[in-house]
Symmetry: C2
Subunit: 389 residues, 2 copies
DNA sequence: CCACTTAAGCAACGGTGTTGCCAAAGTGCA
DNA sequence: TGCACTTTGGCAACACCGTTGCTTAAGTGG
């Protein structure tokens, strides 16, 4: 009967070119992770499950493209020593922008995500689209002007507070700035900058940055980044890639109800974690901070139980102001729950490194991550505007 | 320094055989979804993104294996009419077992998941491993005895209440039955039955069944199944595949804290959704049920916001007893939150179909799902014991 | 009856990872 | 110093994937 169903692609078929891209991304990701130390062909073969010969061919192509170079050799173990391969950091660059309420940060990073240049300027996010876009364009121009990058810039990743649609790059309702509702930020900025643009929530950018810079430990491929600043939000990384959900709205954490019929929150709910946390912080005492950490911990515990993740990372201005206290307070709740759960090891809780630049640097990773196969978790299609090298 | 790192496989490399398997699974999944109506080669090509010729080759191989047959043709649209292809349901079978506290259900299903034969017997889950395993073996023998399946049984999927490790098939602590703690159910049962065995939590089995039998709507590739019976649990389906988390422990929903410092729960926490829900149900009045639904709804709302899923399905004995009331009550909370969130459409809430057989049938899908590429969401490796046809 | 349209297979092809083999480049013992 | 051994990594041939170009099959419509 329904012969006119839309061509809803279930999952993408894989052809040879997709195959090559997948394996190349995998190899690049291992090279990226290895960093300065590099990694040998045979190790790449072990880690990917591909044959050494296949790895030789893949790395050969990557060397031909200038993305990889040979860099010394390991000590021999009784035979020919392994040749070490290293990612050429300068083979590509990415721009990261963080449009915050009162500030605009921009960075230029190389392929490894290392910052090559950075700028910082005051911003009034409420000043209207034209003003903000002009400021963004000015900052990016200045950034590329002194940097060497220029030609090899792959695109610009933009982090914005509040909900938006990552897939089409349209803002929903930046908290406190209703004038942005429905604004097609991605396309507008792409035209202005002449670069492919990817936009995402600030918490997602931060989480992606943490996922890629090794802040999450070695085996920790799934974690949550909880950001407590002027608001409370989360970014989820599942299986090494950012999880954005069906409509790219995942990570709503601050307005989880954790106190039925509790105090009213601005969002209209009662007993939201955000409201409770911020109220406790507002008390200003150490006991207030401890209470905030406890509330945050209970929320984190809920999340850990639901998703079975490997770690919890805390960040944001409010956390930074009392880092140890928050880490300890949240950890205490998780430990207690793990203990009662019986035997299960507690999930590690840590402060996210990076501080105020965490989000901008993560924004640049919005462009880089797809190159390394870290584009998206559990999503059918995976298209964004980034150029393919 | 750390040259002795374990061969921790990041993500699997793809070779040609994996490529073929992936595309074949994709095609099989579309054929399965199409059901009796079948699907044409060209439609398969559109949906997968593969070329028509590639689909012809793939379906040719599948026809050679006896998994697919031509079954009539569509009406012409001005040219040669499309040939309809259909999955051969009887080309393979799977056994499903549901080890419940007081009952053992078993089913034999065909490739489409349709039940071919089923049995039901009383069981005392506390009677010890030998007794339970013997009962399981007896029931499976009887099931295969009268059914035609026999030779083409691909494996047995087993659903068990309470936490376990899906990866190695070891039970953790079935609530109320400490004697099972640490029991290697998968291996023990595999030896006894002479079949590959996969074990999982009952809620996961149910969610998987719902994911595959089309109970979740057409575009609904991500949803949560909330089961309210003697306890409260959840099964998560993200992107069409079951999400099990890093240590396959995901879906802990009943012991999410939703009332800080609320009434004590058996688990040791305070204010767990499960405790609040069951207490409200225990009141026995309609207002009690409404309150339980409201609490469940707040929990569901938290989950929907965090994961941005497409739907919420409710099941379990307690829900069945007042289905409409629960659906309405949960829906009301989600609607209210979506309304306040501003514009976002509310997520549909429905009662899960299937009733008491939902879990057994889902257990069989533990064997079938990997054949259709629905094995696991966001997980590095994806090995289980199922034979490859 | 014939022109046209649409579906599906055949044959050749480009390109993937794999296999078998060999050269390169070390170690270690006589 | 020389030689056997180990280990790495490339070369060549290969099997097999999906793709492309073309042909054949099987309908509709004037």
């Amino acid at each position: 009967m329904n012969s006119h169903v839309p061509p809803a692609r279930t999952t993408a078929g894989f052809n040879l070119s997709a195959l090559r891209g997948h394996n190349a991304a995998l190899v690049l990701d291992l090279l990226r992770t290895a960093g300065e130390a590099g990694i040998s062909r045979l190790e790449l073969a072990e880690r990917t499950g591909l044959t050494p010969q296949a790895v030789s061919k893949i790395t050969g192509r990557l060397r031909g493209d200038g993305l990889v170079v040979e860099a010394g050799r390991r000590a021999s173990t009784g035979g020919k020593p392994r040749t070490v391969l290293r990612l050429v950091a300068g083979a590509g660059h990415a721009v990261g922008l963080h449009l915050d309420r009162d500030e605009l940060r921009t960075v230029l990073t190389d392929l490894t995500g290392a910052v090559v240049a950075s700028r910082r300027a005051p911003l009034d996010l409420g000043a209207g689209a034209d003003t903000v876009l002009a400021a963004a364009a000015r900052e990016v121009d200045a950034l590329l002007g002194d940097g060497e990058g220029g030609a090899s810039v792959l695109g610009a990743g933009v982090a914005v507070p509040g909900p938006l649609d990552h897939a089409d790059g349209v803002l929903h309702r930046v908290t406190g700035f209703p004038q942005w509702d429905g604004f097609p930020l991605r396309d507008a900025l792409a035209e202005r900058l002449g670069l492919p643009v990817v936009v995402d929530k600030d918490t997602n950018a931060a989480a992606l940055g943490l996922a890629l810079d090794g802040a999450a430990g070695d085996g920790e491929r799934s974690f949550a980044y909880l950001h407590l600043g002027t608001g409370l939000g989360a970014g989820l990384v599942l299986g090494g890639a950012l999880y954005r959900g069906a409509r790219t709205g995942a990570g709503e954490f601050g307005h989880q109800v954790i106190q039925l019929d509790g105090p009213a929150c601005d969002c209209g709910n009662r007993g939201c974690i955000e409201a409770l946390c911020l109220a406790a912080v507002a008390v200003g005492t150490e006991r207030g901070t401890d209470e905030a950490a406890r509330v945050l911990g209970e929320g984190a515990g809920n999340l850990v139980g639901l998703l079975d993740i490997d770690a919890v990372l805390l960040g944001g201005r409010t956390v930074s102001a009392a880092e140890e206290r928050f880490v300890r307070g949240v950890g205490r709740v998780l430990d207690a729950r793990a203990m009662r759960g019986g035997g299960g090891r507690a999930i590690p809780v840590r402060a996210a490194p990076g501080g105020a630049t965490l989000v901008v640097e993560g924004a640049a990773q919005l462009i880089l991550a797809p190159l390394f196969g870290r584009g998206d978790a559990a999503l059918p299609a995976n298209r964004n505007g980034a150029k393919v090298i």
